[in-house]
């Protein structure tokens, strides 16, 4: 039985090193071809006609005027007569044509008659949603009534975080060509090995016929797993256009309207406790929506799950708005924001530093020691104890404040298979049906393979992004790094074992006494007995060695290559202009554990990206619906605001790289680092202002309203 465990931390030569991403130059120079760059010969352009109504029935649809336009190759009805439309932007028809302009003109020429029905697109005010509300039932633990009755201190607060979109810079879509015996599919996807099967199912074809390729993709954040209706329609348009390749990518407005959202979450929260900061009671009445199917349900109270007396009520609200999709750590950023805001308000109420209140209550969490160390580290990095001042003590027009957010996540590796081939000329290739969604997966796989084979990075060629390679799971739930690293490790160990068997007789050493190191095969404990990698490979004869490795989630934890359970804390310092309500970021600090860190440099980059997303969500991002028209008003990048460089402030990332964490194996990172930032920033603003702004994003109107409410109170 081969030994797969990771080499000891101090002996690693590539894993754990700060290595720049291999495809950085390709991306920054524009040579990397994204699916939206796949301009095949004879390419056709497809455009969707979408519903302008949020709730309507299609009465009739006339596509003849579109078909009559010169240059149009195919027109398809997606929502035929009788279809009930549940949100504005729903796909009604699709057109392909020889140019994008003709396709747009043709889509506009289609005549659709609707029976317009009443809609609801806003959920902030629960009293106004009527029968669209569906209670999820009450959960009670302990005796919350008594806890509140007996408490020395309590707070009651309103908190809200609106629907936001994924706003992928490369919108959803694909290029697809329907050939005689196969379909070539170039989707912008997070799921190379499963999206082909998904498309085949939509088209009622055998999965074997769909060939998927996606070498680069411009952002998904959880929204790019399925083939989607527009992917299937693009394929059918290609078929009806004689198999010519069809490009169908959503335009920006459609992208922000129908390609997925993160559900909102609102709550009235009460916290009871002692004057020394100990929390004893929690009550929350929350509601959320992510579209027609209702919304997510944030796990409350978050992280501090063992507050002894709790009562939770949650209500789902169904809206006529684009549907929810997984958004980097589904439900967690909302839960962290709601919980950490209430805890910080409790601290303010009893006149304590929230840092001390978080520390005081860590025994209510499942990982008290880790959080304690992380809070101490974060406080040191942001200089918390020197800077912190209670909100009530602050003066002046420009005020600074500090806040904390906290996170937890699973992050175990997904199912993954990998094939590693050592060729007789000494070259090595790794084939894996995974994808690099911008997280440096390619680079990390290379590190693992090269580390295992004792080779430099340049000796290993990693091939991914294609479903002809051994299947690997979708990149969701922070499962990729654990999955692909483990399968690659195993494939490399297995292949190396075969190579050592071939060279052992000639070296006069049993194979288990040989190891690969510094591009050589060396006898353990006898560095003089060695041969170069190249020489060793020549011993294998004309046939390459090709071995599989598999990460099987059920047995992975036992093997120790990857595991789950990531913790993180984030702290923010903000500056508020008390006269304008403008909030600026001074610094955001992240302290993050994710077990064995394969590449600290790209890991830090991933955390920095998550912090920027948190800044956007805390200060700017919000889908704005118009109740009269039922449409998204800011389905653009002008009023759907994202942070620019001057808005980001200083980002400080500390990866918890210790022997203790390293020994746990690899844990996913993408999600856990995208959770606590909103809470940290909102709490920092509350501390600076001396009053809670109930809802994020912290726009000037909300900040000024909160200040005015305090004056009037």
């Amino acid at each position: 039985m081969a030994e797969y465990k990771w080499p000891p931390m101090e002996q690693r030569k590539l894993m754990g090193k700060r290595i720049a991403r291999l495809d950085g130059p390709m991306k920054s120079s524009g040579r990397a071809k994204y699916p939206s760059d796949m301009n095949q010969p004879g390419l056709l352009f497809a455009v969707l006609l979408t519903s302008p109504h949020a709730h309507a029935k299609v009465k009739s649809i006339d596509v003849a005027p579109a078909k009559a336009i010169k240059g149009v190759t195919a027109v398809r009805v997606i929502s035929g007569p009788g279809t009930e439309i549940q949100w504005a932007g729903t796909e009604v028809a699709a057109v392909s044509a020889v140019t994008e302009e003709i396709a747009r003109d043709a889509a506009k020429a289609i005549v659709v008659e609707y029976e317009v029905l009443t809609h609801l697109v806003k959920e902030e005010n629960l009293a106004k949603v009527g029968p669209r509300a569906k209670a999820a039932g009450e959960q009670i633990t302990g005796d919350p009534d008594k806890a509140f009755q007996d408490s020395e201190a309590k707070i009651s607060g309103d908190y809200g975080i609106p629907v936001i979109t994924h706003c992928c810079l490369e919108p959803h879509g694909s290029v697809v060509a329907w050939g005689n015996d196969k379909i070539d599919f170039w989707p912008s996807t997070q799921a190379v090995s499963t999206v082909g099967g998904d498309l085949a199912k939509l088209l009622e074809l055998p999965a074997t016929q769909v060939k998927v390729d996606c070498q680069y993709m411009g952002g998904g954040f959880g929204s790019k797993f399925p083939a989607d209706r527009w992917g299937a329609e693009a394929a059918r348009l290609s078929k009806e256009s004689g198999g010519r390749p069809v490009k169908l990518f959503l335009d920006r407005a459609t992208e922000l309207t129908i390609a997925g959202v993160r559900p909102s979450h609102f709550a009235k929260i009460k916290v009871a406790g002692k004057k020394d900061g100990t929390m004893t009671g929690w009550q929350s009445e929350s509601w959320a929506s992510g579209g027609i199917g209702g919304g997510g349900m944030a796990p409350l109270p978050y992280v501090f799950t063992n507050i002894p007396n709790r009562r939770m009520n949650h209500t789902q609200v169904s809206l006529n708005a684009g549907p929810a999709r997984a958004w980097r750590a589904p439900n967690h950023p909302q839960a962290s924001f709601l919980t950490c805001s209430a805890i910080s308000d409790f601290a303010a109420e009893i006149g304590m530093d929230p840092y001390d209140v978080f520390l005081k209550n860590l025994d209510l969490t499942l990982r008290a020691d880790t959080y304690r160390k992380q809070l101490v580290k974060g406080a040191e990095l942001i200089d918390w104890k020197k800077k912190f001042q209670l909100g009530s003590a602050k003066t002046g027009n420009i005020r600074r404040g500090l806040g904390i957010g906290i996170a937890t996540w699973g992050g175990a590796g997904h199912a993954s298979k990998c094939r590693l081939t050592i060729h007789p000329d000494g070259t090595v290739e790794v084939e894996i049906g995974s994808q690099d969604i911008g997280t440096a997966t390619r680079t990390c796989i290379t590190q693992v393979a090269a580390e295992t084979l004792g080779l430099p990075m340049s000796a290993v060629k990693v091939k991914l992004g294609n479903n002809s390679y051994p299947p690997s799971g979708p990149s969701g739930g922070s499962t990729t790094i654990g999955g692909v690293s483990s399968s690659t490790r195993k494939a490399a160990v297995n292949a190396l074992e075969k190579l050592l068997e071939k060279v052992a007789p000639g070296m006069g050493v049993p194979p288990d006494q040989l190891e690969a190191n510094d591009s050589r095969i060396v006898a353990k404990g006898n560095p003089n007995k060695a041969m170069s990698w190249k020489q060793a490979c020549q011993k294998m004869g004309p046939t390459a060695i090709s071995e599989m490795g598999e990460n099987e989630p059920r047995s992975a934890a036992r093997e120790g290559l990857n595991t789950q359970g990531a913790s993180g804390i984030q702290m923010a310092e903000v500056e508020v202009d008390m006269e304008t309500g403008v909030v600026r970021i001074v610094e955001v600090v992240a302290v993050q554990d994710c077990g064995l860190v394969v590449n600290p440099r790209t890991a830090e980059s991933q955390v920095a990206g998550a912090l920027i997303m948190s800044v956007c969500s805390a200060l700017m991002e919000e889908r704005i619906m118009d109740q009269t028209t039922g449409r998204v008003l800011n389905a653009d990048m002008e009023f759907y605001k994202l942070a620019g460089l001057p808005d980001v402030g200083k980002l400080t990332v500390h990866m918890d790289i210790t022997k203790e964490h390293d020994s746990r194996g690899i844990i996913g990172l993408g999600e856990p680092c995208a959770i606590g930032g909103v809470a940290a920033i909102a709490n920092a603003a509350a501390n600076a202002l001396g009053v809670r702004v109930p809802m994020v994003p912290l726009t000037p109107e909300r900040v000024l309203a909160a200040l005015a409410n305090r004056r009037n109170a």
Binding site: D105, D626, T628, A643, P646, P700, E701, A705
Partner: protein
């Protein structure tokens, strides 16, 4: 997008002859191209005026500074004459924090660009009757009692108005006219009316600013520090007599369908020294006539602060 003709004249006369019904002027294109792509505008012909040499340049002519309408925002903000005399214009230009837009966008285009109202931009008309009042109006006007609730998008308009600038406009009949910037912006009362005093077949040929030295400044309140539309701005120009104000001109931007003059505040400041107190009082007076919509009362506070800080900046007093 509807197909259109493209014309590239080299003289104003030629350009005017090309501005027949359905034609539109193209300069930087930072606004017009998106209007066309979004089907809000469907021009039959685009008349590019960037090839007309006489429409460029910045110079001092007699008692005026002359700015050509095709001068880019970047050229304006980096011009030594402008930097010396009109910090209000430089600050207003730099408030557009996108170098790409400053490199392409022109002074004339800034004045003539269409409002950013999200109902207008999604095909509901400039007045978007009923939608704004009952809908999402946090970015809309707090001044103006008529049918128009959009805010003028111009960054330079309020500054030019405070500086007493005049526009020279050429008409197809060969005549020219002078229109003060204060009369250039209009609040339409019916759908289809223009929001600027420039007919579709006319061209702004010169922007003229009187030379008498003033202390002037612009202050902009913006949500995002990166490129974003102002929530409220104020431009002020003060003629001083020693340490006292002899004449004041205060114009607020992004608070009404036109830039809004604060005449009461201007009068109050005459004979005063600019201090935090007098500036604050002027700010409070400037927004007294505001009539906010359901979601934008906060803009009164922002306009008030913008006026105060613009006055303090002009007078060289620390703002916060």
């Amino acid at each position: 997008m509807v197909n259109f003709e493209y014309a590239n004249p080299t003289t104003v006369k030629e350009a005017l002859s090309l501005l027949t019904a359905g034609a539109e002027i193209l300069a930087g294109g930072t606004d017009l191209l998106s209007l066309i792509k979004d089907d809000v505008h469907q021009p039959k012909r685009l008349v590019n005026i960037k090839g007309i040499k006489t429409l460029g340049g910045i110079s001092k002519i007699g008692n005026n500074f002359r700015i050509g309408p095709t001068v880019t925002l970047d050229e304006l903000a980096s011009n030594p004459l402008i930097r010396g005399a009109f910090p209000a214009l430089v600050q207003a230009s730099l408030g557009i924090t996108s170098p790409q837009i400053r490199n392409m966008g022109t002074v004339g285009g800034d004045l003539c660009q269409r409002p950013r109202c999200w109902y207008f931009r999604t095909g509901n008309g400039l007045l978007a009757k009923g939608l704004v009042e009952n809908g999402e109006n946090k970015y809309h006007a707090i001044f103006g009692t008529g049918a128009a609730h959009f805010v003028s998008a111009s960054s330079l308009g309020p500054a030019l108005m405070a500086l007493g600038a005049t526009l020279k406009i050429a008409s197809p009949d060969g005549k020219t006219k002078d229109v003060p910037v204060s009369q250039f912006f209009k609040a339409p009362s019916a759908e289809g009316e223009r929001e600027i005093a420039l007919a579709a077949n006319e061209i702004v040929t010169d922007i003229l600013i009187p030379t008498p030295p003033t202390k002037n400044a612009t202050y902009e309140v913006r949500h995002r520090q990166a490129v974003d539309w102002p929530l409220a701005t104020a431009s002020v120009s003060l003629r001083m007599s020693g340490s006292k104000v002899a004449a004041a001109s205060i114009t607020m931007g992004h608070v009404g369908p036109t830039p809004v003059r604060a005449t009461e505040a201007e009068k109050m400041l005459i004979g005063q020294t600019i201090t935090v107190d007098s500036a604050e009082k002027a700010g409070a007076m400037a927004v007294m006539g505001a009539k906010p919509l359901s979601q934008n009362a906060y803009k009164m506070q922002l306009a008030k602060v913008a006026v105060k800080r613009a006055l303090l900046t002009a007078a060289g007093v620390k703002t916060v």
